[in-house]
């Protein structure tokens, strides 16, 4: 007798409903709509098509070779575009890297620190580093973020318990400092350690890198104005895998606000304020990717309030500037330039400025962010100005929105990579705390870029 094995399921008589099963088999009939079942066919299986990337749990998001995405990491991988977020934060710096890619660091306000942000102006794609990736405390901050080289891309973050950052940093780096290295699409986090293996705890630092895997960072060896500090340099020649500590100034002093910058000829320069006895601006040069350093003449000595120094360089000229970003009563900013590798310096005084926060140079365009009045926290006091005569005269280039609150004097950043300049400051405008501008015409015009975040 033929038994109804291939017939329709879940239709006919069954003493126990659970007995009738047609699992992973489906009836095929004699014709469309027919009921004469010819066979039971196995249902199709599933073949893998794509492992989807995921941002779950916090994720690294950086780029390589001018493309966002496609990265993996031991922590779980990949880049993200700006997520809607209720966080607010403060831009700390920008760094335009190869191919116009821009990295911005953002420190978070309450309730949680947030990210480093990356922008490719060419493709208008944007990505971010999500600090939630790591088992850090909620006070973790990315202090500086750098697009250091095309391969790898390096960003730096550190974890601090303090929630503010200034040029006069008094942060306690209790949990160490980290960088992230992206090589061949793999993101790894490196904990910076001294040669003896102990973890580097420091104030925020500066970073430069080269395509051959050399990474240089400079920072204060100790933190706090009340203690003696030394300027330290760490150097890696293997994409951050191992580090060598270089004490460029062996004697302890009372140093502050180191700045590290690279000329377009790949020379490296460090300058800082030394207040050990009198206020002096120190200066070091390296012409071998940071392996060795030469201390040059003291650029200047001065009295009064010690402000930050900032610097920039093209092929022929090094600029170091000093003002008093903090002091409402200070007057004047001082730009020094050298065309003989820092052996001699020429002073240009900008008498109408109260301070200079940062500057960048490309070709004949020298761009500076200045404060024009004694009011520290009024946006209209700040200007981005451009000089085409080597810093002798400046003209307005970008006026920050007058209806914004902030910015704070220590959170300006001007960087450039070739003809691409970026300028950021933290200030509230249209509900967004982060203001970020890009200029590709030597500061003649600026484009405001949204990072896509929502103020909270």
């Amino acid at each position: 007798m033929e038994i109804p094995f291939v017939g329709g399921a879940y239709l006919g008589r069954s003493p126990n409903l659970n007995a009738q099963v047609c699992q992973n088999l489906y009836p095929v009939v004699d014709q469309q709509g027919g009921k004469s079942v010819l066979a039971l066919f196995g249902v199709p299986g599933l073949t893998g098509y794509l492992n989807l990337v995921s941002g779950g749990g916090g994720v690294i998001s950086v780029y390589e070779d001018s493309e966002l995405g496609g990265l993996s990491s031991p922590q779980g991988s990949v880049m993200l575009l700006p997520s809607p977020a209720t966080y607010r934060g403060y831009l700390q710096n920008t760094d335009p890297g190869p191919d116009g890619m821009v990295s911005c660091s953002i420190t978070g306000a309450s309730p949680i620190a947030i990210n480093s942000f990356i922008h490719n102006p060419d493709s208008n794609t944007k990505g971010e580093l999500d600090i939630g990736l790591f088992p850090l405390t909620i006070d973790g901050h990315i202090i500086n973020s750098f697009v250091a080289s095309k391969t790898p891309c390096v960003a730096r973050r550190s974890n601090f318990t303090a929630t503010t950052f200034s040029a006069y940093s008094d942060l306690d780096g209790i949990n160490g400092n980290f960088i992230e290295v992206i090589k061949n699409g793999i993101v790894t986090r490196k904990t910076l350690t001294y040669s003896n293996g102990s973890t580097v705890h420091s104030s925020p630092f500066w970073m430069e890198a080269f395509d051959n895997g050399v990474i240089i960072i400079a920072y204060l060896g100790k933190v706090g104005l009340s203690t003696n500090n030394i300027i330290k340099v760490m150097r890696s020649i293997d994409y951050g895998e191992t580090w060598t500590t270089i004490n460029i100034l062996e004697t302890s002093g009372h140093f502050a606000t180191p700045t590290l910058f690279k000329g377009s000829n790949n020379n490296l320069y460090i300058s800082c304020i030394d207040t050990t006895s009198t206020n002096r601006i120190r200066f070091w040069v390296s012409q071998d990717s940071g392996a060795t350093w030469t201390q040059k003449t003291i650029i200047a000595s001065f009295s009064g309030t010690a402000g930050i120094v900032c610097g920039c360089a093209n092929d022929t000229t090094i600029y170091v500037a000093h003002g008093s970003a903090y002091s409402a009563s200070a007057s004047g900013a001082y730009i020094y330039y050298s065309t003989d590798l820092g052996n001699t310096w020429t002073l240009i005084t900008q008498a109408t400025w109260r301070s200079i926060s940062c500057m960048a140079v490309s070709g004949s365009a020298l761009i500076a962010c200045t404060k024009l009045t004694s009011d520290l926290f009024t946006p209209s006091a700040f200007r981005v100005q451009v000089s085409t005569d080597g810093g002798v005269t400046f003209a307005n280039s970008l006026d920050p929105p007058t209806d914004a609150t902030g910015p704070y004097p220590y959170n300006h950043s001007l960087r450039n990579n070739g003809s691409t300049f970026t300028y950021t400051y933290d200030g509230l405008k249209d509900g967004v705390y982060l203001s970020y501008y890009v200029s590709t015409d030597a500061g003649a015009t600026w484009t405001s870029e949204s990072i896509g975040r929502v103020a909270g």
Partner: protein, 398 residues
């Protein structure tokens, strides 16, 4: 592991919501992360208008127009569903009978006054669903079918576009080329065409659905493959599939525990029937030449209807199940003489080694019974086709 919560094709890209991450997938399979939404699991929709995406989960709305951003929803509550029709992104408000429409082709812009109410009955709206340019408003206990009339508020209810049946699970609603399918508020599966609907689940399917929990989270999708149309509905750990071509039901299961089918959502992209996995963050495709689910066992089970003859004792001499031979693998037979309450020991025979096309799967000396259900299983990753079965049996007198 993450849940692939939604798939949506727009233009030449496929968009996926994997956990919290919105991803754009090109035809060459390169992925671009577009950002994260706030939730990483649960009900979600993606819809596109050709240029912009809208995304809705159970808490918020988002749009993507080059950057992923929040939708400022035009109501204070939470959304309950999302659909798209005629340039409008359409969102229903949870615990309400209202649905709202966006500005034309602009999911970033919503006027709080651009709403309408499913007003034929007082039940809340469970889901909005566009089907063949008809807007289905599926409520908790009734539904209405609207159309784009071109008025100031463009959607209007059809004359007679009211059905006195509701929807149990918003994500159970799915369309093929003709019909809308959904799990109704009486826990039956329905098929709607025009402004009519009919039950397609059989009483036995209804019984099995009723025995489950988690009906409100049921999720379904439709697809066509090899001449068959399927509506696949997963409720809790059980997956039911209605073959819209033959109108027969079957179930799909995966893994040694015969758990739910992994597919959570569906899109046809790159000429493949793609599905998102419910918990491993991967996209798979239905492959008629694959005999497992990404390496996970896909046990085929067939328990036939009862063999009986007026409750007389039947002596079972030989059972032959006609498999397509020569594919390898084994068939495992057991039977129940008490209506499926208990089962015999399993008896395994070969379907036929690869290339042994004439091999027959035969079991002999099967004892006697008044009322027997045979059940056969194939657990191997081999092709499974059953073309018939025959039993040599003798009817006794007692």
């Amino acid at each position: 592991m993450s849940e692939v919560r939604a798939l949506q094709k727009m233009g030449s890209y496929l968009y996926a919501l994997n956990g919290s991450t919105l991803i754009r997938i090109a035809t060459d399979m390169t992925q671009t992360n577009l950002g994260n939404i706030d939730t990483s699991a649960g009900i979600a929709w993606i819809r596109g208008d050709g240029a912009n995406l809208s995304i809705v989960d159970s808490t918020k709305g988002y749009f993507y127009d080059g950057a992923l951003q929040y939708i400022t929803l035009p109501f204070s509550g939470t959304p309950s569903s999302l659909t798209y029709q005629d340039g409008y992104h359409i969102v229903s408000e949870a615990n309400s009978a209202r649905f709202y429409i966006s500005e034309l082709y602009d999911p970033s812009s919503w006027d709080p006054l651009d709403y309408a109410t499913k007003e034929g009955a007082t039940d809340n709206l469970r889901c909005v669903h566009s089907h063949n340019r008809d807007l289905w408003l599926l409520g908790e206990s009734t539904l209405e079918v609207w159309y784009n009339s071109g008025d100031v508020f463009p959607f209007t209810r059809y004359q007679g576009g009211f059905i006195n049946i509701g929807c149990k699970a918003a994500r159970s609603v799915a369309s093929d080329d003709v019909s809308v399918f959904w799990l109704d508020n009486n826990l039956r599966v329905r098929r709607g065409v025009g402004v009519q609907s009919a039950i397609v689940s059989t009483p036995q399917i209804d019984y099995q659905i009723y025995a489950l929990t988690g009906h409100a989270d049921a999720i379904g999708f439709c697809y066509f493959q090899e001449g068959h149309g399927f509506y696949q509905l997963t409720i809790a750990d059980k997956t039911f599939v209605y073959d819209t071509t033959t109108q027969f039901w079957h179930t799909r299961a995966s893994g040694s525990g015969d758990n739910r089918h992994p597919a959570q959502c569906y899109a046809f992209f790159n000429d493949l029937h793609l599905v998102g996995h419910y918990n491993d963050g991967k996209i798979y495709y239905f492959n008629v030449n694959a005999y497992d689910n990404g390496g996970e066992m896909m046990r085929a089970i067939r328990a036939a209807q009862v063999v009986h003859s007026d409750e007389k004792r039947i002596f079972h001499g030989k059972l032959q199940i006609e498999f397509e031979g020569g594919v390898g693998g084994n068939a495992i037979l057991d039977w129940s003489d008490d209506g499926g309450h208990t089962w015999s020991s399993p008896y395994t025979v070969s379907i036929g080694e690869a290339g042994d096309y004439s091999h027959r799967a035969i079991w002999r000396k099967l004892g006697a019974s008044r009322n027997r259900i045979y059940r056969v299983k194939v657990e191997d990753s081999v092709k499974k086709v059953i073309t018939g079965a025959s039993l040599e049996a003798v009817k006794g007198n007692g």
